[in-house]
């Protein structure tokens, strides 16, 4: 059996791009400084993921999806990493890169978001094939116990403040609610009918809208990578301006020890 790696030695074949120092740069088959020179950055970012172009109205909504979840609150777990990096006098890149990586969390961020996108696609396909949404929801709850994108760890029963804002933005841009977004709201109503008061949260909406624009769940996930980022530099900056170590200082007594009692190493 031939080793697959042998086929991949030599020049790396790519269709994504290359730089030609002193001359030009190619981005997905286009000259970055000629063909794409007027592209908005988020349009370029989305083009890099999908290879597709979007209308100015769609780009405006994609932009707003990030804007409305940019919270410079240093208590939030990902932002806290950026703030602590500033407090500990680490670099901005390290603090923000770590904070972005931390955003791939299981109780918020990209783990629920990719799961929500996956479920929306599966549920959409099944309901389009004629299955009742209640049946789909029941089976999903049996298999996974939770439907990600519904309920919220910090405010379970309240309306997610980001949702009315993005719906209003879509209205201003005359972007209609597509089938995935409509399904996302149908799921909220379906859960309520099943006695589950789990209001839709931003994780479902933030993927439903790009799904409606033709992104796949994996493309949605990549599109959302910078979505929390705008809130991070302010946390880093302000922590940098406080005295070193003065962001969330903890007294020794703020450690509540619950482990074994005192013991001696050599006695055992």
């Amino acid at each position: 059996m031939r080793n697959t790696l042998l086929d991949y030695e030599g020049p790396l074949r790519t269709r994504m791009g290359a730089c030609f120092p002193g001359q030009r740069a190619v981005f997905r088959g286009h000259d970055l400084h000629a063909d794409l020179k007027d592209m908005d950055w988020i349009e370029l970012y989305t083009f890099g993921i999908t290879g597709r172009r979007f209308s100015p109205q769609q780009i405006s909504v994609l932009h707003a999806l990030w804007t409305y979840t940019s919270y410079p609150d240093p208590r939030l777990w990902n932002n806290r990493v950026a703030a602590l990096a500033g407090s500990a006098r680490s670099t901005g890149a390290l603090g923000i890169a770590a904070a972005i990586a931390v955003s791939e969390a299981s109780i918020y961020g990209w783990q629920p978001e990719i799961a929500a996108a996956d479920f929306l696609v599966r549920a959409y396909n099944r309901t389009q094939a004629g299955e009742a949404l209640q049946v789909v929801l029941t089976q999903e709850l049996q298999q996974h116990r939770r439907i990600l994108g519904y309920g919220r760890p910090v405010a379970t029963l309240q309306v997610d403040e980001r949702i009315p804002a993005i719906l209003a933005h879509m209205g201003r841009e005359q972007i209609e609610q597509g089938p995935y977004l409509q399904l996302a709201f149908d799921i909220e109503r379906g859960l309520l009918q099943m006695g589950r008061q789990l209001p839709i949260n931003y994780a479902a909406v933030v993927v439903a809208i790009p799904l409606d624009m033709g992104l796949s769940p994996r493309e949605c996930y990549l599109f959302l990578q910078p979505s929390f980022m705008a809130g991070m530099p302010p946390c880093y900056m302000e922590a940098s301006e406080r005295p070193e170590g003065a962001t969330f200082p903890l007294r020794c007594t703020q450690l509540c020890y619950e482990g074994p009692g005192r013991r001696r190493w050599q006695q055992e």
Binding site: N3, T4, L5, G10, P11, L12, R13, T14, R15, G17, A18, F20, Q23, R24, V26, R28, G29, H30, D31, H33, A34, D35, T91, A93, L94, A97, A98, A101, E104, W110, Q111, I114, A115, A117, D118, F119, R122, Q143, H144, P217, R218, Y221, P249, L250, R251, C252, T253, Q254, L255, C256, Y257, E258, G259, P260, G261, R262, R263, R264, W265, Q266
Partner: protein, 273 residues
């Protein structure tokens, strides 16, 4: 005197501190799992013993110490061809910060191809299959795919096996042999005994991640604990290689060639001028 409960406390079964009398933010004594770290443990406990204490809460047995010492050396440097070390060198050669070197190594070494996620998944397989060959053969023949999309890409080969191996590599065999000698009654010994059958079932030879997972299973490490320890243990080689390449400079480090299949050529730019 009654104390209001401070909501901003960190609960821990690992660490306790006694403050200095004149400074509530400085520790006069630190206790790890009940042991006085700087007043008793320091100078007596080895690094491996202390690490085990942190993870597992108790002192390791002599067998566990010896096994972890071997595992730590076996995993410490996967070598410059390994993607995680390559990533660290790419950071080091460009003069990136030391932390970014290790972040690069951790990020790339986290995956399911030879990385810590593979150890996590292999530990899960040990939890599910134990030392029952029939269970292993069944799960290797019919792997259960994830029930929904995850941030992790889907596994492309059985965890713990080498998708590009022709036969089990000598470093893997040697590590397995040494570890099985030390821990002769568990997963490692069974793996050594049934390796050929498992490799046939998997269609691939055993990999170092598979040995690491068996050792960690014998040491009662959960998949999450094993994943974390693997990430830690793989860092020394990445750090050393990054420092070496940083000293040598980027001109001596491969930049590789690209074959750009859809190059529009320089004409567009000339036309736009």
């Amino acid at each position: 005197m009654s104390h209001a409960v401070n909501p901003n406390t960190i609960r821990s079964s690992i660490w306790e501190e006694e403050p200095q009398a004149d400074n509530p933010f400085a520790a006069a004594a630190c206790y790890c799992r009940g042991y006085d770290v700087y007043g008793d443990l320091l100078g007596k406990a080895s690094y491996i013993e202390y690490m085990y204490l942190l993870f597992k809460g108790e002192r390791p047995t002599p067998g566990a110490i010896a096994a972890l010492e071997i595992l730590a050396v076996a995993l410490a440097n996967p070598g410059p061809r390994d993607p995680s070390v390559h990533a660290a060198m790419a950071a080091g050669v460009g003069g990136s910060t030391a932390a970014s070197v290790l972040m690069a190594a951790v990020a790339v070494g986290a995956g399911s191809y030879g990385g810590a996620r593979e150890v996590f998944l292999a530990l899960g397989a040990w939890e599910n299959n134990g030392t029952e060959l029939a269970n292993w053969c069944s799960s290797l023949a019919s792997p259960v795919p994830p029930t929904r999309l995850q941030v992790w890409p889907e596994l492309e080969h059985p965890a713990g096996f080498d998708p590009y191996g022709k036969h089990c590599a000598a470093p893997v065999l040697r590590t397995l042999s040494l570890l099985a000698d030390i821990l002769p009654a568990g997963c490692l010994a069974w793996l050594q005994q049934e390796r050929a059958a498992l490799e046939t079932a998997a269609g691939f030879p055993l990999a170092m991640t598979g040995v690491a997972a068996a050792a960690l299973a014998d040491l009662d490490f959960s998949p999450n604990e094993g994943e974390m320890l693997t990430l830690l243990l793989r860092l020394p080689g990445a750090a050393a290689h990054a420092l070496e390449q940083g000293k040598q400079g980027f001109r001596l480090f491969p930049f590789f060639e690209l074959d750009l299949e859809n190059d529009p050529g320089p004409s567009c730019q000339k036309e736009s001028k």
